[in-house]
């Protein structure tokens, strides 16, 4: 992978960020994911976390574990050089990430902002649901809450900005829209996204070895379930 356009800067004294661009772009994020997967599969001494974001990736390291690197002026310079070497060896070609289908109930009792969002975009509720379920979204990053996926891109005709006043509690499983992004709240949480439905699935479950349903780089498609099916699935999961 070509690193000439990479902007690498320290994020404090135990992390560095590689910025690929300053825009949200699917192909840039794919590059981020290639770096993410490569670094996960080729562990570097002292690296504790690799955090992909929209157009950047951050590597967190433990200074205490690096020790003296004689050819470098600092541990930062050593880790930076090591990471550049790794990235140059990446042969990025095919798409990575799983394809995951997520049931969502778009009943207005769960899609708290569905009617408002439809009116805002001068569409019927059915058209909004159809457009939201017709797209495959890329999980650009996970943040804000454990397992909260930032996914894009939402069809321009059903986009809407965040609510002016965030809700005190958005119920767990709520599917929301914020501009071109769509996301799912893994936990009951304060939040400002426009809520259009709810999934009965657990996005986050501390009893599981891998507690998060989604990972960065996954591709996600929503399909509709009725209110009845929603409760059936939720009961089956919690049972």
């Amino acid at each position: 992978m070509n690193v000439s356009n990479l902007n690498i800067y320290p994020l404090g004294d135990q992390a560095l960020t590689l910025q690929l661009s300053d825009q949200i772009d699917a192909s840039v994020n794919q590059q981020v994911m290639h770096i993410f997967h490569h670094l996960q599969n080729h562990p570097i001494k002292a690296v504790t976390d690799i955090i992909p974001a929209y157009s950047s990736i951050t590597i967190v390291y433990d200074l205490a574990q690096i020790g003296l690197q004689h050819r470098f002026s600092s541990s930062f310079e050593w880790i930076k050089a090591t990471i550049i070497q790794h990235i140059e060896s990446i042969n990025a070609s095919n798409l990575i990430g799983r394809h995951i289908k997520i049931p969502a109930c778009y009943d207005v009792s769960l899609g708290l902002d569905l009617i408002e969002l439809a009116q805002h975009n001068q569409l019927s509720v059915e058209e909004v649901i159809h457009k939201h379920t017709s797209q495959t979204y890329q999980v650009y990053m996970i943040g804000f809450l454990p397992g909260f996926p930032y996914m894009a891109a939402v069809d321009p005709s059903i986009q809407m900005n965040r609510r002016a006043v965030p809700r005190q509690i958005v119920p767990k499983g709520s599917v929301g829209i914020a501009g071109a992004q769509t996301g799912i709240y893994p936990l009951d949480s304060p939040g400002g996204w426009q809520i259009i439905g709810q999934t009965p699935l657990n996005l986050f479950d501390i009893s599981k070895e891998n507690p998060c349903l989604l990972s960065p780089g996954d591709r996600v498609e929503f399909y509709t379930v009725s209110l009845e099916e929603f409760w059936e699935i939720r009961k089956a999961i919690t049972a």
Binding site: G12, A64, S74
Partner: protein, 326 residues
């Protein structure tokens, strides 16, 4: 055999060095606010530096030990006592069964630690004992401690000693290496250069104070409003402990142990790791000044603290050997 929480205190949790390796899933690291105080408390009782400890604020908890134990207090000094006897900080003590420990007044610092030789008998969540309150996981039942909670200990000190009475061990540590007064040093963040010249000067000269709305997620500061020369929306990226973010109202927040993994506010600086213990021990209305430093200097100071801790660990081992031979 355990510790019973008689009174829970303000915000008492189990913490270790933090949960590493899961930030890409939005799972924040948590961990001790003052890592050095936590490590030192462990070292004093010959634990591994990363063993889980009890972290507390003032008002601090009232604790009852149902078994004898070697413990050490570190970080803040909240005037600990048992039965009218003062318990020193930064010095290991032996406490007999049924000792009740309480903390009577705030002498120095904000966040205290209690280590127990052998550690707490808890299970890890994602390789860490740190409490993640938001996820309701880790620590003791994933929550802050409540009255009546009973935390089992791994180790029974009665097997190691014939001692029956409260006593201090004949070694102690100095925590001076880990704290200093103002200013706090930071490495300029990616958006530091985007501050107006006036705001850059203000950041490096003005007095900031810690607001009441501060917690383990972050320290909110009150100071002169800072401005960016261009108001460009920033795409969310990872943030870290010590990151100074500029909020839309021109005020700053310094992210602490429970910070979110990503954020979209301008990162104007990052407090260096070596200065985070000093910041963690500052409280509401305390004043803060900032100065910039280099990555080389930050690393040098960090390594200095590591070496101090290492020397202390060796010294404690020697002292313990001498104590047993005695």
């Amino acid at each position: 055999m355990s510790i019973v929480i008689i009174k829970p205190g303000l915000f008492s949790t189990i913490q270790d060095e933090g949960r590493k390796g899961f930030q890409h899933l939005g799972i924040n690291p948590n961990g001790a606010m003052d890592i050095r105080a936590m490590q030192m408390a462990n070292t004093l009782v010959l634990n591994d530096v990363s063993e889980a400890v009890l972290e507390f604020y003032f008002p601090a908890p009232v604790l009852q030990f149902t078994q004898p134990a070697f413990i050490a207090l570190g970080g803040a000094d909240f005037s600990a006592e048992t039965n009218g006897t003062d318990i020193p900080i930064n010095q290991p003590v032996f406490i007999p069964a049924n000792t009740i420990i309480q903390f009577t007044s705030k002498k120095w610092g904000q966040v205290g630690y209690l280590s127990v030789q052998g550690g707490f008998d808890l299970s890890e969540w994602l390789n860490s004992y740190s409490t993640n309150v938001k996820a309701a996981a880790g620590g003791f039942e994933g929550n802050i401690l409540k009255a009546g909670d009973t935390i089992d200990l791994r180790f029974n000190a009665s097997n190691k000693t014939t001692n029956k009475e409260y006593s201090t061990m004949p070694w102690k540590a100095s925590s001076k290496e880990f704290y200093h007064s103002n200013p706090l040093q930071f490495i300029p963040g990616h958006e530091f250069a985007k501050l107006t010249e006036t705001s850059q000067t203000l950041l490096l000269s003005a007095e900031f104070s810690i607001l009441r709305q501060s917690d383990r997620m972050g320290y909110r500061l009150n100071g002169p409003a800072l401005e960016l020369s261009e108001k460009k929306e920033i795409i969310s990226t990872a943030v870290t402990k010590g990151t100074i973010q500029l909020l839309p109202n021109g005020q700053c927040i310094v992210l602490m142990a429970d910070h979110q993994t990503t954020g979209g506010y301008p990162r104007i600086g990052h407090i260096i790791s070596a200065d985070l213990p000093t910041l963690a021990q500052k409280g509401i209305n305390d004043s803060i000044y900032f100065t910039t430093t280099t990555i080389e200097q930050a690393e040098k100071l960090f390594i200095g603290q590591e070496q101090h801790l290492h020397l202390l660990t060796n010294a404690c081992k020697l002292q313990l050997d001498a104590y047993h031979r005695h």
